[in-house]
């Protein structure tokens, strides 16, 4: 016991120290990978080896290799400083990308110098945020089983995975053909996003090797742009819950527009709290007291799509799949008159509506692209949000990443309120089979466990067993 606590405290001291050095090592390795050509890296490796073996000049002649390779590299680096050509780089990004779906974008490179430019490479840079200590500590390693004990203890490969994930994608350099003076060429760059959210492009770099082909000179232009990567989406059936249409405060004006196209019914005296834009000014002028317009009440089917963001015990992979399921349901076809409210807890309680006259599916996907797990708040925040809007809703679709007592109790309360619901649990494959439906036992058609890796199949079952 004492040994365990000692090991833990030792790790608590060593880890932050290691983390700081991870950053240094990473930056250095990135610099080497970008600046040195493959031949240059071989020369660099030979230089280090010759330096080690040639430390005693009387013992071996490796110091001569060291001296030669060193002078080659120094000349290469000095030559790189003479790269004075100018270019214009223009990047044309698509509107959206999707996680794990390859996408292509175009980059137009124009040679602004008066000399032809050959042997150039284009390197596109994505802004890379290095993980903070807490983020590193909290992150689970999906590849833990296949790592050796050293990697598991030190954690550098896990840290690298986090860096790669934060960056969002890796872009391979592309060789450019000869650029005549004042000529522009177009390069198509392919990348595959590995996460949702914004990919932040920072710089475009034109690399030119030195005469020995060992070291790259850089011409870098700030080319800041971002590309939104949407969550992965599965084909989901349109979901019809057996709920009634509900009165929507504000009527159609909420859903279509604000202006003259409302369905006018009558005039009445002003009551405190009525919005000023509803005052009928002509009547006000005639009667000398405020008169307001009244509209026909509107009834719509309005579903709540509730996403569970409380990632306490669940795996991050499960959360990502839950977001994908939410995105899939948001994209699924539904009737013209229905509204969909996406509810989740982030840094605050969020509610986004889509449907007739409101933000479209695109807007909802953008929101879902940026949803982050909530670690600061408790599940009760979601409970409050849902109950606050329960009166307006025709039914709820819950996408949960855990099925613990708290969530089961919440669902039980919702059911007691008489609201039709659909509960979708996203779970790891080994957990999926052992899940007890709990309060949903009586309505198995409204309860579905979606297994990570078989989400599409699970959503297909919804189609086969319609909810009534």
């Amino acid at each position: 016991m004492r040994d365990d606590s000692r090991a833990r405290s030792a790790r608590a001291i060593i880890r932050p120290f290691l983390l700081r050095n991870f950053g240094l090592v990473y930056r250095l390795s990135q610099w080497i990978r970008r600046r040195f050509t493959p031949a240059g890296m071989l020369v660099l490796g030979g230089l280090v080896a010759a330096g080690v073996f040639g430390i005693d000049t009387r013992r071996t002649l490796a110091f001569q290799i060291f001296a030669l390779l060193f002078s080659l590299l120094v000349l290469s680096i000095v030559t790189a400083m003479t790269f004075r050509s100018r270019f214009r780089v223009h990047r044309l990004l698509p509107e959206f990308g999707t996680v794990n779906q390859p996408l292509t974008y175009r980059v137009i490179v124009e040679n602004l110098s008066h000399r032809p430019q050959a042997s150039l490479r284009l390197l596109e840079e994505l802004r890379t945020r290095l993980p903070a200590y807490n983020e590193f500590k909290a992150a689970r390693d999906p590849s833990k089983e296949r790592r050796n004990w050293f990697d598991r203890y030190v954690g550098y490969p896990r840290w690298l995975e986090l860096v790669h994930r934060n960056r969002g994608a890796a872009i391979q350099p592309i060789d450019l053909d000869v650029l005549a003076p004042r000529e522009a060429i177009e390069a198509r760059i392919g990348l595959t996003p590995v996460r949702r959210g914004y990919l932040e492009f920072s710089r475009s770099v034109i690399a030119r090797p030195d005469p020995f082909g060992l070291f790259n000179a850089f011409y870098a232009t700030e080319n800041v742009q971002s590309l939104l990567v949407l969550p992965k989406r599965y084909s989901a059936p349109p979901i019809q819950l057996p709920g009634k249409r509900a009165y929507q405060h504000g009527g159609i004006s909420l859903t279509v527009s604000v202006g003259d196209s409302q369905e006018f019914t009558s005039l009445r005296d002003y009551r405190p709290g009525d919005p000023l834009r509803r005052i009928h000014w002509r009547s006000y002028a005639k009667l000398g007291q405020p008169i307001v317009k009244e509209y026909q009440d509107e009834f719509f089917v309005r579903y709540g799509l509730v996403l569970d963001t409380f990632l306490q015990e669940a795996h991050e992979e499960v959360f990502e799949e839950a977001v994908s399921v939410a995105a899939s349901i948001a994209c699924a076809g539904r009737s013209q008159d229905s509204l969909l409210d996406l509810m989740f807890i982030g840094t605050d309680a969020h509610l986004f509506s889509s449907g007739r006259g409101l933000g479209g599916t695109d807007h909802m996907l953008e929101v879902l692209a940026c949803v982050r797990p909530c670690r600061e708040k408790s599940f009760s925040a979601l409970r409050q949000l849902v109950f606050k809007h329960a009166t307006k809703a025709s039914g709820f679709i819950f996408i949960l990443i855990n099925w613990d007592w708290e969530r089961q109790e919440f669902i039980r309360q919702i059911r007691l309120a008489g609201l039709p619901i659909l509960v979708l649990i996203v779970a790891q494959s080994n957990d999926a089979e052992t899940l007890d439906p709990g309060p949903m036992r009586q309505v198995p058609e409204q309860f579905c466990v979606l297994e990570v890796g078989k989400i599409e199949e699970g959503l297909g079952h919804l189609q086969q067993s319609p909810i009534h």
């Binding site: 000049t57 002649l61 002078s71 296949r146 592309i174 990348l191």
Partner: protein, 673 residues
């Protein structure tokens, strides 16, 4: 507008596959074979690898088979490491490095004859192998081992025994060959060629510089070690460097300064200690008990031997690290003088210990080099250790020492070393089945002064002449800068003492060339160090003279500039603060209204009359408090006018002011102090 696509993206896509051009590997292997004397193997290996360019057949080697070949190479590597470490200890690492082309040959051969022509990185790293097995769909980087293998050949070649300029020439040629195919297309031969020549030139200069740098660093480290150890020589024992492998190197630091009245025609030997028992490379002294010497009147003259009249004298300056330390003196010293030592001790073997404060010491030694005061020989001075007896006896027999008179025997030994031996600071190799000294005598016949002195002492003993081993310095370098002789650490010397004709004689058989060889290895910057050393010496000398003259007050003049600086700073700071005060107060000062009121003269007068106004007390309260007698004119009306003048926004007119002034004047007239 042309359009180019980057290759389809994969997680770990390989972009670093470069294949060596034909015959480059063969050239690298042949170079390695030439340098390491493995030419037969290298020719065979080169032929097998390069034949792949002409032979059409290829094997379908799977990833798993590549893994096995890689594992086999790794196991072979480990076995060789274990074996070489067991047989050659740490030196085995160099043999391993020499054999690297053998060890990796199989996997390179498999690659060049495989259908794929490349190897997955997972074949070389087991961790990646596990990754590729579990993470299906991920592409593992592929590598071409031909260029890395070429680099390995060059590195292994550097461990060869042919240390000549041809290695660098070959290196340049092969580098140019290897770099040509990776040259970017935008550069022609006219740029590439001169740059490569420049790189070779810089490389050549660099490798010369590295050799010099190593010598310099070693010299500095040795100097430091020397500094640490030199001043603590043990009169009881000394460990010689007999048997040490490599180059013996001592520092150029100046240890002694000797002021001789006349120019030295032969090197003057200053002895530090004498030993008489030799065993396993260590000389020690039998019962080297020290005894105190009584000083003469005045306490600065110490006579070691009154028997003979000294004929020569020298003044020696050296440094003491501790309060007690051995100091070198000439052979046959009679008297030590001009030194304010607390005490001087000597042992029967001629070692002198000075007891005085650490730092620079200077003393005058008068001596007669022809004889010495050392104790008479004992049976110990005739012992030849068992492990050397056979070789020593063999040489003694060859020289016919047993039948010769002591003087003639000593001459014969000197001739023997002069004719057959040479001086060397470098010792190579080990001495299988022999001792280093025996190897020196019978085989290599080269060594440094410790070999010569030890062998001479033992041969003298074999001839029946009592002999001892002395260490000290050989004084022969005259410094034009210092106008005296100097002895550096590398001038440390060892010689034999033979007891001939009832006194101890120096028998120095080390070839005279030794000092020249030592001087030749001096670095070019030695002159700067000498200058620095001389400056330090002069400073120490000045302090030494001051302290010894018993008048340290002259150091006080050093305080003069300090006082001057302090005074200047005080003056400056005062002036600055004063000017600051002025600068700050002047602009802020706002003239108060009514401060020119003549009523203040009245206030001053009251103060002078002894009426003290309390802090914060208003004028009216003060005047009410003080008891003025009835003859005193009333102050109240004047004060009213003063208050009006001082505080009333409207002020007072000229008439009122005149009235106030006249009332004040009247009051002052009457209330004179």
């Amino acid at each position: 507008m042309a359009i180019f696509n980057n290759p389809p993206f994969t997680e770990t896509m390989n972009t670093s596959v470069i294949k060596a051009p034909p015959m480059l590997l063969a050239a690298g292997l042949l170079f390695w074979g030439w340098q390491t004397d493995q030419i037969v193997f290298s020719v065979l290996m080169a032929a097998m690898l390069e034949a792949s360019h002409w032979l059409k057949f290829r094997w379908a080697i799977s990833d798993r088979e590549f893994n096995r070949i890689s594992d086999f190479s790794s196991i072979l590597f480990v076995i060789i490491i274990v074996y070489l470490f067991m047989t050659q200890s740490i030196d085995g690492i160099f043999t391993i490095l020499q054999w690297l082309p053998f060890i990796f040959f199989l996997i390179v051969l498999a690659q060049v004859y495989s259908h794929h022509g490349r190897i997955k990185l997972s074949a070389l790293f087991i961790s990646l192998r596990r990754k590729s097995a579990q993470a299906a769909g991920r592409t593992i980087t592929e590598v071409d081992l031909t260029y890395p293998y070429f680099v390995v050949c060059l590195l292994s070649a550097s461990l060869g025994s042919h240390r000549s300029l041809w290695f660098f020439a070959g290196l340049c040629f092969l580098s140019a060959w290897a770099l040509w195919p990776v040259r970017p297309g935008r550069y022609g031969l006219r740029i590439w060629g001169p740059m490569l020549v420049l790189a070779f030139g810089l490389g050549y200069i660099g490798q010369l510089g590295m050799q010099n740098l190593q010598s310099a660093v070693e010299g500095m480290v040795l100097a430091w070690m020397d500094e640490l150890l030199w001043r603590n020589r043990d009169p009881e024992r000394v460990t010689t460097a007999i048997g040490s492998i490599g180059r013996l190197k001592l520092s150029d630091r100046i240890r002694l300064r000797v002021d001789a009245p006349n120019k030295l025609t032969t090197p003057l030997l200053l002895r530090e200690a004498t030993y008489n028992i030799f065993n396993l490379g260590i000389w020690s002294a039998h019962e080297p008990a020290f005894t105190f010497i009584d000083p003469e009147v005045g306490g600065t003259i110490w006579t070691l031997n009154r028997a003979a009249t000294p004929t020569q004298r020298v003044t020696i300056s050296t440094y003491l690290k501790n309060e007690k330390g051995m100091v070198p003196v000439p052979h046959g010293t009679r008297q030590i003088s001009d030194i304010a030592a607390v005490g001087i001790e000597k042992n029967p073997y001629g070692a002198i210990i000075l007891d005085m404060r650490p730092g620079l010491v200077r003393y005058r030694a008068t001596f007669d080099a022809e004889s010495s005061y050392d104790a008479a020989p004992t049976p110990t001075d005739l012992i030849v250790p068992d492990q050397y007896r056979a070789e020593i006896a063999q040489v003694a027999t060859r020289l016919g020492l047993s039948g010769k008179a002591p003087k003639a025997a000593a001459e014969a030994i000197k001739d023997f070393f002069k004719q057959n031996f040479r001086y060397s600071l470098i010792q190579r190799g080990r001495y299988a089945g022999s001792t280093p000294l025996a190897d020196f005598l019978m085989n290599s016949r080269k060594g440094h002064c410790e070999y010569f002195a030890t062998a001479t002492a033992l041969l003298l003993r074999a001839a029946g002449i009592p002999a001892r081993y002395a260490i000290g310095y050989s004084i022969q370098e005259y410094s034009a800068l210092e106008w005296q002789y100097i002895a550096r650490a590398r001038h440390a010397h060892a010689w034999a003492l033979a007891y001939i004709g009832h006194h101890w004689e120096v028998v120095d058989t080390t070839p005279a060339i030794w000092a020249g060889l030592e001087d030749a290895s001096a670095p070019w910057w030695q002159a700067f160090f000498d200058l620095w050393s001389w400056g330090s010496y002069r400073l120490a000398d000045w302090r030494y003279s001051d302290v010894n003259n018993g008048d340290p007050t002259s150091l006080l003049w050093l305080l003069v500039p300090l006082f001057a600086i302090l005074a200047w700073r005080l003056y400056r700071s005062e002036r600055v603060s004063r000017s600051k005060d002025l600068a700050q107060t002047e602009p802020n000062r706002c003239p108060r209204r009514g401060e020119d009121s003549r009523f203040y003269l009245l206030v001053d007068r009251l103060g002078k009359l002894g009426f003290v106004r309390r802090q914060g007390e208003t004028l009216r309260a003060w005047i009410a408090r003080i008891k003025l007698d009835g003859s005193t004119p009333p102050i109240g009306p004047i004060l009213d006018l003063h208050y009006c003048y001082r505080f009333d926004p409207k002020g007072i007119d000229a008439r009122q002011r005149q009235a106030m002034n006249s009332m004040v004047e009247t009051w002052l007239e009457k209330m004179k102090v």
